[in-house]
Symmetry: C2
Amino acid sequence: MKGTEAKARVVIESITPQIDGGQYAIKRVPGETITVRAAVFADGHDVVAARLLHRKSGEKKWKENPLVLIDNDEWEGSFMVSTTGYHEYAIAGWIDHSMYWYEGFQKKAAAGEKMETELAIGALIVEKMEKLAKGDDHTLIQHALTVFNDPEQNSEALEIASSEKLKALIEEYPIRENESISKILRVFVDRKKAEFSTWYEFFPRAASPDANRPGTFKDCMEIIPRLEQLGFDVLYFPPIHPVGKSFRKGKNNSTTALPGEPGSPWAIGNSTGGHKAINPELGTMEDFTALVTHAEKHGIEIALDLAYQCAPDHPYVKKHPQWFRWRPDGTVQYAENPPKKYQDVLPINFENEDWKNLWDELKSIIEFWIDKGIKIFRVDNPHTKPFVFWEWLMEEMRKDHPDVLFLSEAFTRPKIMARLAKVGFHQSYSYFVWRETKAKLEEYLTELTTTELREYMRANFWPNTPDILPYYIQNTGYSDSAIRYILAATLSSDYGMYGPVYELLVNDPVPGKEEYYNSEKYEVRHWDWKTFTPFHALIGRINHIRKENSAFHSTFNITFCETNNEQVMAFIKQSKEDNNTVLVIVNLDPLHRQSAWIKLPLESLGTKEGQGLMMEDLLDGNKYQWNKEVNYVELDPVKSSAHIFRVNKI
Amino acid sequence: MKGTEAKARVVIESITPQIDGGQYAIKRVPGETITVRAAVFADGHDVVAARLLHRKSGEKKWKENPLVLIDNDEWEGSFMVSTTGYHEYAIAGWIDHSMYWYEGFQKKAAAGEKMETELAIGALIVEKMEKLAKGDDHTLIQHALTVFNDPEQNSEALEIASSEKLKALIEEYPIRENESISKILRVFVDRKKAEFSTWYEFFPRAASPDANRPGTFKDCMEIIPRLEQLGFDVLYFPPIHPVGKSFRKGKNNSTTALPGEPGSPWAIGNSTGGHKAINPELGTMEDFTALVTHAEKHGIEIALDLAYQCAPDHPYVKKHPQWFRWRPDGTVQYAENPPKKYQDVLPINFENEDWKNLWDELKSIIEFWIDKGIKIFRVDNPHTKPFVFWEWLMEEMRKDHPDVLFLSEAFTRPKIMARLAKVGFHQSYSYFVWRETKAKLEEYLTELTTTELREYMRANFWPNTPDILPYYIQNTGYSDSAIRYILAATLSSDYGMYGPVYELLVNDPVPGKEEYYNSEKYEVRHWDWKTFTPFHALIGRINHIRKENSAFHSTFNITFCETNNEQVMAFIKQSKEDNNTVLVIVNLDPLHRQSAWIKLPLESLGTKEGQGLMMEDLLDGNKYQWNKEVNYVELDPVKSSAHIFRVNKI
């Protein structure tokens, strides 16, 4: 043990936030604040001082923010991160002998003791402070030192030693001997889009305006302005690569494709290429990069699907047979859930001896598309590839491509979803689609925003996906889908929709399943890309509201309001930095008018009973003045299932 | 990254118990079981297998216990520790490809598939198992291998591949490729007395049968058989060292001692010696070691007080001036709480440059007394010495003297008490003395036995100490003290009492304070060491009951019973290993008869409504048959404030 450790008397424990003892970094975006708590204490009755340290990783010098004692030896402080990349934080604590002396001095002087020795001790302290201070402070301290040491100037010495000014100087120039420094924790700061993004998904082969031929990237060009108008900023495409031919699936997942059927885009690869190639039916690489550029001009980033699996005719199978699991009959092991077989998809065997080359190749796929201008990937079934691989990959990305984002498609067991987020996925599909009642939704949001999950998991709320047509909107009308849309877009700052089917209310299921009938996964569909329904108007309006109101730019700023009706859900979201507050009220019942009394969290709103609040409904422009804590609302799905109020104090 | 890490697909997280990410060892005594939980899961749909590993530290080979999947990827297992010292535990997990194959085989066979390839895969698996198995199992597996590989024996192959026997062999001989091993956690196993001890404190100078002279170690010899009869097994003495002469305190803590006054034993050291010397007024070192041996013969260990502080005339002050804080006026800084001064006690300055020699000397004090036969120390005010020092010292002790126990005297802030326990103190004075109501007692016990504290803190319950005469027993009679005694001795397996004053109901306070008037700390008192009151009978009886009933040998086996009267507290304690169950019911009201309905936790008791329980009151020998979940009791403090039932199923 070194002397610096042996003499460090301050104990620092239980620092939050931290994940698994600091093994993983917490996550934030620029402009977010990190509130750090810790237990800080020392032996004895001395005065303990503590600071919150923070810096960008790689910097030598710490910046320091105050830590304040809350209660029961718990201290709290905060710091803001403004740049992307790794940042570090830690806590420093030391015994504040100067302040202990100062406080003791006042008590002893008040008790009428002789103060000579106390002044002499004070002189030793200000002598140390003198070495730290500059300018006017230095002059003042130097003067104190002279006076403390001069018995002739005793009355001035007593005056200075009891002054508030000296106390302030002691706080300004702490003598930090035998300081304790906690372990260093990390936060990774992603670009803002990791926390605020508005996704739209469609199959590019459905982009054709001509029902007699499949769509191409060129057709997609025409759809971009519409998506911009609707307010989306991420356009996610299912895999755009050549589709496997052997064991190709037909319409409605039939095991044999008829001639001319296009197959599932997730059966990736055939003799013309694999994960770095484009399905020639969609166009050329030039068409694709032109589309990426075009979208960018309209404020839309294109997100690709990253599905690490191969059709049987993917070039990897011949070139890297060691990456697959071979059966004794000389075939490659396909995906299965016995007795079901998925012979069109070969999983990669990550337990192979050539794992290093495999990992490098998988990484190179991402870098290939980054080169083409892609900065967002939606990862297909990440929970079927090893966590250790993802951890490595995400770390590589943070190092080399910190602006590239990954959405984890894992609708699986909670710990598995959480682990993927922990190892670095920026966003996670969530259980939103299976949380239907007010109670379940509130419980889920509370878990996402107030438990440890808040530190590393960003849920992306989807009311549907090509894989999930939830039972409760099957064969229903506008209000059902609109309500789920409103919830997704207002509860979560990250949300997305598998667009055309959803906005056109196409919701016939495969009977008894949460699957779309005539799913686009297995066939080419054609949609009316020109129509503009009230649902389109609502989507455009809400995306506009989201953009304009910073309260919607985070998921973590939510407070639920008590209502006296289980069909009426209400919550406020607040951006304190921008003084932007919204109150969202949703009638969860698609069929009936519902009314409720809404209890506002007046303290959070910084107001009190009797003081007026102006409630401006951003959906229809109506304004209401509310003066009470509890207020009446009524929502009729025939007119609107929601209020989205901007809340302003009068 | 090595291949073994890259291919390890099983994730192991959130292992409990662990303290501060494994920084500190949890604590147990021999015979205790450690229940370990962890999240264990892997990517994909493979079968995951996991084991709990444990071993004595220093051993190379792990022992393995099963882990069982509880729910939500949480696994649980347990192991027992039987020897003292450090033990280690960890979790191993791997993908159980064999079981995945076996389970798939059954489903595919049931679906009527062709099984040739499956048998061939099975052959590869049993080939690996063959290398692990011995004896009959080996023969069986060898046979399976032959049959699986021989198309002629297809029907027998199918039969074997579907057999329960093969499943059992797969479980018995797992193929643990690419295994994940968690971080290794530690438990320190103390000798049993750390968890079950019965303390008695008296001042040896009060042992004299002659009111005209102070007591000596020789007088103490006479008291030992009485303590044995009362059932105590630890006798703790306040400091036995020479008492400082300068600034000696007088009767009732007066700042000047009159000639002949003995001073506080905690003002340690004068010119005749310090922490390694004996106050000559008590006797010689030979007298002391004779007493230690004598006590041992009567089943009593003597515990010494370890107070790391010095009277101004302690030899250290001259010999090691660098260990103290010197004031500019040439005096040593005494203890103070401005404006109060404690000039008879000099604290050690642990922030001195010579800390290494200081630490070694402080350790040598303990070793000096270990040499004289002492194995238990009650540490005075450990919270005023650095935690880093204690951490080092406790580790040294664990290494060199693992059977030596330390009781931490720290009635201070909760995190400070907890930290001392974490760094290794075996027992901790607790807040028991300030937990008066049923609700507060139950809340406190719940905290001690069901939160993380259970893993490292053993509370020692004292109804009084020389420093604390709680308000609620000041100037009261027998029942008040008896109730608090019963609670201490039955709630906690470790308890103690500052004996003579307590059992003789000497409880005059310094007015307005929780301090004894005419405290023994500052003067020699004389007690009647021959008297035998009903309180003595109760103490003897309860200590006997504690010894005979293993349910009282742990604090962590408590379950509170609902009662419908806040004055009636009831709890069961169970030793499942020995099938020993007790039900304690206490009337907390010292003045009035109280009755209540007690609801038994039938499930914990392994019984149900209507099945008879024989309740034998171990205090008075009465027996009652209870047949219901809810039972009536009545306790009159005039007769007895408690039932201590042994519970037996009929």
